[in-house]
């Protein structure tokens, strides 16, 4: 299945937050660890609400966590 057109820097941001684990982030935003893993790997585009919750955890605006690249779906 093609990657989603939404890229993200969650892995890097977690690293910058004292190597926050996927489980810790999942607990903070109210999803399962598998969902965070799927988002990081580009296998799932989160809903707008979840995207905002993730951005809020890192105290960043949405566009600094997620970027939209429609070209990625053509790969």
């Amino acid at each position: 299945m093609a990657k989603t057109p939404i890229n993200n820097d969650i892995r890097k941001l977690r690293f910058n937050q004292d190597e926050m684990t996927q489980q810790q982030l999942a607990d903070k935003v109210g999803v399962t660890r598998q969902t965070i893993a799927a988002i990081e790997n580009g296998k799932y585009s989160p809903t707008l609400e979840l995207a905002f919750r993730i951005a809020q955890v890192f105290s960043l605006p949405l566009e600094e966590v997620f970027t939209y690249n429609p070209e990625d779906t053509k790969k």
């Binding site: 299945m1 999803v31 790997n41």
Partner: protein
């Protein structure tokens, strides 16, 4: 393997086992009613109506046993909730499953239209219910592994 995937596989295996066991029981005890009385709708009505609660209860028991066995073997806890991705996967799998059941329904009606013995219609309905359940499981596994 994540808990959700294990649960789906166990659910699919239990569906297969329950249907096989029930069918075996029917075939052993009522062989004449299945084929030699093609218009015995009462038999088929009872067969399908009993299959539904038998299937639900058996699957609940199998899932409880799986949860206990999995907990003992892996010390992994069952996720206490299903998040938005789980729900989306469930919905997409259910859509695929419904399409297959609808197709089975048309095939069943087609068998009547073609004048095939009515008991085939009931067999096709039961089979399409089973195949649609399998499709639901395979779809969920596919979406969990490949992404949505």
């Amino acid at each position: 393997m994540p808990y959700q995937e294990k649960k789906i596989i166990i659910s699919m295996i239990s569906s297969l086992l329950v249907l096989a066991a029930y069918w075996f029981y029917i075939y052993q005890n009522y062989p004449a009613e299945i084929t030699t009385t093609p218009t015995n709708f009462r038999f088929w009505g009872k067969t399908i109506l009993i299959l539904i609660p038998v299937s639900i209860v058996s699957r609940i028991v199998i899932m409880i046993l799986f949860t206990i066995a999995n907990r003992i073997a892996t010390r992994e806890e069952e996720p206490s909730f299903s998040d938005e991705r789980d729900k989306l996967i469930e919905l997409k799998a259910m859509r695929n499953s419904h399409w297959i059941f609808i197709l089975g329904f048309f095939v069943a009606m087609g068998s009547l239209a073609l004048g095939i013995a009515p008991y085939w219609m009931f067999i096709i309905i039961i089979l399409s219910g089973f195949i649609s359940e399998m499709a639901d499981g395979f779809s969920q596994l596919y979406y969990y592994r490949k992404g949505i």
